[in-house]
Amino acid sequence: MTATVPPKAPTFLGLPTAPRGVGHLRGDQSFPDAARTALRDGQLRANLGHATTTIRNKRAKVVGEVADWEQLRAAGKALKAATMAHLDEHLEELERQVTARGGTVHWARDANEANEIVTRLVQATGTGEVVKVKSMATQEIALNEALEAVGIEVFETDLAELIVQLGEDKPSHILVPAIHKNRAEIREIFARTIPGVDPGLTDEPRQLAMAARKHLRERFLRARVAISGANFGVAETGTLTVVESEGNGRMCLTLPETLITVMGIEKVVPTWRDLEVFLQLLPRSSTGERMNPYTSTWAGVTPGDGPQEFHLVLLDNGRTAVLADEVGREALHCIRCSACLNVCPVYERAGGHAYGSVYPGPIGAILSPLLTGVEDNASLPYASSLCGACYEVCPVAIDIPSILVHLRAEHVEAQEKTTAEAVAFRALAKVMSNPRLWHLAQRASRLGRLLSRGRPTLPNALPPPISGWTRSRDLPTPPTSTFVEQWTREHRSAK
């Protein structure tokens, strides 16, 4: 399948990045080009603005009631760093424990190998359809496409994923993947694609949710194979964890005879006790709830309860290349809460699709280029104003701005030829790496706003050196105040 794709230069220490030609880590367009389309879509921006504001406020409220949040955050960060320092040993222990409890562990070097393993496992059961719990790792490797290519029908069961799947669309947010669709659009998708749906279906959210319940119920009850991801895998006990809200996860983890879980190797945690930290950090940061409705954990196979066949697929797909990057490695600490998306002024305007990868927002701007090699996602490290809001909210304190700067430097270094773009990028990188210069450039770009007179984008109006870059890639019209200023103002008034 990938034989025609040219091999690419391995990055750090010769470790291979995620292969080309498979999966969803690379967009068809650069970030600025894709963002330009999104910026012209007023409805999309209104939906996104509403969503990010709502979740941001909910998060702030439930985080605010935890007196020891900073201690939990520091513990989460230290736990992840300690895990990465001995990742090989923790994975071997996880494998031992899962195997001892009746599970089977598979290792996948990359997306192609993981897809082959899962396809083989599904085919061995003789079933022609699988139910799936929302999982970033399986989206990353485009598992659905691989299964469908051999005629296996895949049912996404998370409501938002179902909307995305039925609408032949792409997810745009980690937590609420269909946030770019409004209720009327969802009703239209359901009316068109769900067989036997009530023609009187309205666009009331409860009615739409119940239509999805009815549609999926019989599939859950007849499913023989389920596929999930995992939020955490506990090495010392072999316990896997899925955190969810709707109960579709429980259906998949409980009813079918066979369960196949695809887990990125960075999701291992050393001890059961470590979950006392992550199960506090994740729900509050993610949905802004004290606890999500359902968390399921299981260790191998339990006679008489749940699937009697369990497979765990451990996925690399560029993660070891990220681990080799001493600055970038922190990106592997991410617990996929999506808090950084909801505070990011760039995400809020550009939307998730502009990032071209299943990982959007600030985490996507570092993780995607780290997984693919920066040459394949060269514009993403610039998709940020380095305002630092993502770092502030990150429950495991990933220093996203520093990694962005690091990747910018790496990208510029990698450009051997002195093209006009390379020069402009280099100048941009210099400005963006220095808070004082960046501040000045941002204020200068406000001048650009006056010049643009309400045009949606701003082709040539930025001062040098940024103009060298924006000439070929329209930059969004800058807001009336910079995000840093706005943030400072809002925070001051909140106190």
């Binding site: 230290a78 809200s245 709707e246 259906m251 979950l275 506090q280 409705p293 954990t297 749940g306």
Partner: protein, 210 residues
């Protein structure tokens, strides 16, 4: 080389011969809640947090559990429910069970979808987050039991209530299949409007015996 050896080898290469020192994990976050065990403040906190998820809590004396479970079913199913529509965990104490109810056995799990309500005990309840944890022991039942019927009644006793997440995790056995339940199943996927009950039980009732 097998994929296993190769991935492990890559990790070793990535980390280098001299690995970075493992940072100390300082666990100076709260290990326990503020309220004394089984005390009224702790139980009130649990009730407050569970109700915040729009679940219903019925409180009763330990001797009144059976009658209170019936009252909970009246609320969840409407008066006049048939005992045969209610399925209970096999290890549920006899005096907690509605008379004539169905007791779960080793039938295929999907058959539980035919029942309107299920009744189980819990292993632990975490007050600060309003979380009930079922651990697959005989009084909690297998996982499908608390999943398929549309109305779930859970009985919590005062000694099972802990303050925060660390105490809860400490009491649980990670080798058992665990289900942590915080309110009824819910989605906010459509314009962020919360809708209770997608695939899991749409109604959650908690009987708190103290």
């Amino acid at each position: 080389m097998s994929a296993r050896e190769e991935v492990l080898g890559r990790i070793r290469t990535a980390l280098g011969a001299t690995r970075a020192a493992v940072p100390d994990v300082v666990r100076d976050y709260r290990q326990a809640g503020e309220h004394p065990a089984t005390g009224p403040e702790l139980l009130d906190l649990l009730v407050d947090r569970v109700e915040d998820y729009r679940a219903t809590v019925l409180r009763c004396a330990p001797a009144e559990v059976g009658a209170t479970v019936r009252a909970a079913l009246d609320q969840g199913l409407g008066a006049g429910w048939a005992a045969a529509d209610v399925v209970v965990a096999p290890g549920l104490p006899a005096d907690w069970r509605p008379e004539g109810c169905d007791v779960d056995d080793d039938r295929p799990p999907v058959q539980l979808a035919d029942r309107s309500a299920s009744v189980t005990a819990v292993a632990v309840a975490i007050a600060e987050t309003g979380t009930l944890v079922l651990d697959g022991s005989p009084d909690c039942g297998r996982r499908a039991l608390s999943l398929l019927p549309d109305c779930l009644v859970c009985v919590v006793t005062a000694d099972q209530v802990v303050g925060g997440v660390p105490e809860g995790i400490g009491r649980l056995d990670p080798l058992r299949p665990l289900t942590m339940v915080s309110g009824p199943s819910a989605t906010s996927d459509i314009e962020l409007q919360r809708v209770e009950g997608v695939h899991g039980p749409r109604t959650l009732l908690v009987v708190l015996a103290a």
